[in-house]
């Protein structure tokens, strides 16, 4: 498997996906060699071997999408090139499938697969068009396109993303499978009681996440719901702009910017949350919303998010409709019966299929790739 990030040093859904998927694949009897660009702290998984070309001192960068928003996290084109050369030359003995994720290792993975006559499977977690809000970096676009062209099977994490891969990258629809993200089943978190109602928005502060919509909706609700506290968890390039916006909306004491949170803090936040909001303009999946749902927190999500298409018991809203986001938040704050019913329906929906099902679906894709013809 060719990846980029691995917990605990991960910044998005990709890191969660490869970690959980690898665990389940091993549990189902498979062995994985994981090629990563950097060394460093990694949560170990039995049956998964890691290989990296360089020492952490040379490349200390911890995640695929850095907090400053530049793709590749300060990597130059030369580094990407070197990483791919290293992948291409890896001694791939005894493997059945080469499985790459997103754009950064596509060229190397494709050459590696070609050298040993192995099928290439590529999972797309998000596209460059989405990450850049339609101002793609051509270098990355080319690597995505290359991977999609050369892969024998492509996996998209939502139907919405599949449609985009077909439309903008001209992939044959029958070559693209949808395998959603999942969450690990936990018990229902018991909500904190007695305090203020907490409306939570959790994610990278990038333009595509549209946290400004959350703040504008918060400003509309703040007046009618004096007990509500609006919490933004996550870091990213939009932070200064969002902070200024919050102040100009008069949200000063009503909104809390927490910055990047640990897994433990994340769990506590979900316990405390009354409502979860995912306002993204573009959201290929939206795994944090699924986590919130699994914890029994009622969620309001953009209609175009991947999580919206696989979920029941959520409110779906057009990403541009601030008034509707605000109304949905207010409704969930005002009607406890609604909160309870949606929380329960969302929990059931989010935990119906876990990572084991996703791993099985991925193995089916491997089988199709192995038995299938040329890309």
């Amino acid at each position: 498997m060719v990846g980029w990030e691995w917990p605990p040093s991960h910044s998005g859904g990709l890191g969660v996906h490869v970690f959980e998927l690898s665990q389940e694949l091993v549990r189902l009897g498979h062995r994985i060699t994981f090629l990563l660009p950097f060394d460093g702290e990694r949560t170990p998984v039995d049956g998964v071997e890691f290989r990296t070309p360089w020492s952490p001192e040379a490349f200390p960068y911890p995640g695929a999408y850095d907090v400053h928003g530049s793709p590749g996290g300060g990597w130059g084109e030369t580094d990407i090139y070197a990483f791919n050369e290293w992948i291409a030359g890896y001694p791939a003995k005894g493997f059945d499938v080469v499985h790459a994720h997103d754009w950064f290792g596509t060229v190397g993975a494709s050459r590696l697969a070609g050298r040993f006559g192995l099928p290439l499977v590529l999972t797309i977690h998000s596209t460059e068009y989405d990450r850049s809000l339609d101002h793609p970096w051509t270098e990355i676009l080319a690597r995505e396109q290359f991977g999609i062209d050369r892969a024998r099977r492509v996996i998209a994490v939502s139907r919405h993303l599949k449609a985009q891969i077909v439309k903008r990258y001209h992939a044959r629809p029958e070559k693209v499978d949808v395998v959603y993200n999942a969450v690990r089943p936990t018990g229902r978190l018991s909500p904190l009681t007695g305090g203020r109602k907490i409306v939570l928005c959790l994610g990278r502060l990038a333009a595509m996440k549209a946290v400004d919509t959350f703040l504008r909706a918060a400003a509309r609700v703040a007046a009618t719901e004096p007990s509500a506290l609006f919490v933004v968890a996550g870091e990213g390039p939009e932070f200064p702009r969002l902070l200024r916006l919050a102040v100009s909306l008069g949200l000063g004491e009503r909104v809390l910017f927490l910055g990047k949170v640990t897994d433990e803090e994340r769990t506590t936040l979900l316990e405390a949350a009354t409502v979860y909001v995912l306002p993204s303009v573009v959201e290929p999946f939206g795994i944090a919303a699924l986590e919130a749902m699994a914890a029994g927190v009622p969620a309001i999500v953009s209609k175009t998010s991947g999580v919206a298409e696989m979920s029941e018991g959520v409110f779906t809203v057009d990403f541009w409709d601030v008034e509707e986001f605000a109304s949905r938040i207010a409704e969930l704050l005002a009607y406890p019966t609604l909160r309870a019913a949606m929380g329960e329906a969302g929990r059931i929906s989010a935990t119906r299929e876990g990572w084991e099902e996703r791993a099985r679906q991925t193995i089916e894709v491997y089988h199709r790739a192995i038995s299938g013809g040329r890309p």
Binding site: R328, A330, E331, T337, L338, M342
Partner: protein, 393 residues
């Protein structure tokens, strides 16, 4: 053997999206345009063509009989966008071979509120039928064919001769639905139990290609009815069966036209209105302590008040009703009663299994029950505010 064909005509006033942020604004609760658009569509596909077939059957077959219920909210919408449908109804009622039934004006859940509220809504409906269709019903049907001993007592107090009910094994206790019974609690009230297998053959299964009896011809249906033992076969279903639930392309309208001819082939069969059927001898008392309905596999009120959302909305509506009544404002009372229309609660139904889930989805005007609940509660909250203002004034 009598055949009673009873068709139910109803359209609710569906709510428009009324956001929480719309509270206190002048935004109307009801999206009139959308409702009338829906009504026009159904009028074209169903009400007009089916009523034309019925008028023709009445003209050609003097023995043909029909029973109808028409809700007040249906009449309001027809009046605004398809008045010819009302003219047509008046014409067939004038033949004296079409009986109309009483019910609540709003197709409401008032029977769960209080007898006085129920009496007022039934009286309002009676007045509307007299004025618009020139009819004076003697038989009562309750919303969603709800029936209980208590409702029979209500019917007796209101001097109705009979009521309709679901011919459900759970209450008939081994007795056939093909007889007229009487209420154990109010013996003057005759009971016509719906023959649900034969009714649903047309209402639900007619266009199912996977059904072993597909396609259902009028001849086959006539043979089934003729072979059924008893005094009366009560075929109760939605009027929208003919052209809406089953599209014209399924042959349902031709089936309707062909029914009187097909029944003529069997000398033992004889059409009757609900009122005529009630003249048959009574086969014994029926006891129904807990309300039953014609919906779903359980035949209870679960489709309207089965989950927390529905019960919470209904309880909230009850409370707002007290304030609305105190306000004495007839306009607010009318809006509140429109909010008691059973359809609103039906939209809040969650889940369901197998056949029921499909039926629920088909009738839902929202994407999901949570949308329905939130919207309803917003409207109710706003209405409460209006009523409180009026009370204070």
């Amino acid at each position: 053997m009598k055949i009673v064909l009873y068709l139910h005509m109803h359209q609710p006033w569906r709510l428009g999206r009324f956001r929480y942020l719309d509270l206190g604004s002048d935004r109307p609760y009801i999206d009139e345009r959308r409702n009338l658009e829906i009504f026009r569509g159904i009028a074209d596909r169903c009400y007009r063509p089916a009523l034309a077939r019925i008028a023709k059957a009445l003209a050609e077959y003097p023995e043909f009989r029909l029973s109808l219920s028409v809700t007040g909210t249906f009449l309001e919408q027809a009046e605004r966008t398809a008045p010819d449908v009302i003219d047509r109804l008046r014409e067939i009622v004038a033949t004296h071979r079409v009986a109309l039934l009483s019910e609540t004006y709003y197709h409401s859940l008032a029977f769960l509120l209080s007898p006085p509220e129920l009496a007022e809504e039934v009286a309002q409906h009676r007045a509307a039928l007299r004025e618009r269709l020139g009819a004076a019903p003697r038989v009562l049907r309750m919303t969603e064919l709800a029936y209980s001993d208590e409702l029979a007592q209500f019917a007796a107090r209101e001097r109705f001769e009979g009521m309709l009910m679901e011919g459900w094994e759970g209450v008939l206790k081994g007795r056939a639905p093909t007889h007229v019974y009487q209420s154990i609690a109010a013996p003057s009230v005759g009971l016509l139990p719906r023959h649900y297998p034969l009714s649903d053959d047309v209402g639900f299964r007619f266009s199912s290609a996977g059904w072993s009896e597909y396609p259902l011809t009028s001849e086959k249906y006539g043979r089934w009815i003729a072979a059924t033992p008893g005094d009366v076969v009560n075929l109760f279903m939605d009027f929208e069966t003919f052209g809406e639930h089953h599209p014209a392309s399924s042959g349902i309208l031709d089936f309707l036209s062909a029914l009187p001819g097909a029944m003529r082939a069997h000398p033992g069969l004889d059409w009757a209105t609900v009122e005529e059927a009630l003249a048959l001898p009574r086969a014994g008392p029926v006891s129904v302590p807990v309300t039953i309905s014609w919906a779903d596999q359980n035949r209870d009120l679960g489709a309207w008040l089965g989950n927390d959302l529905q019960r919470s909305a209904f309880e909230a509506a009850k409370k707002v009703g007290q304030i609305v009544r105190r306000s004495g404002d007839p306009e607010l009372l009318d809006i509140w009663r429109k909010l008691l229309t059973s359809d609103h609660f039906y939209y809040m139904y969650v889940g369901g299994h197998g056949a029921d889930a499909g039926v629920h989805q088909y009738f839902n005007s929202y994407g999901n029950p949570y949308d329905a609940y939130a919207n309803y509660m917003n409207v109710l909250t706003d209405l409460r505010r209006h009523a409180l203002e009026r009370v204070a004034a």
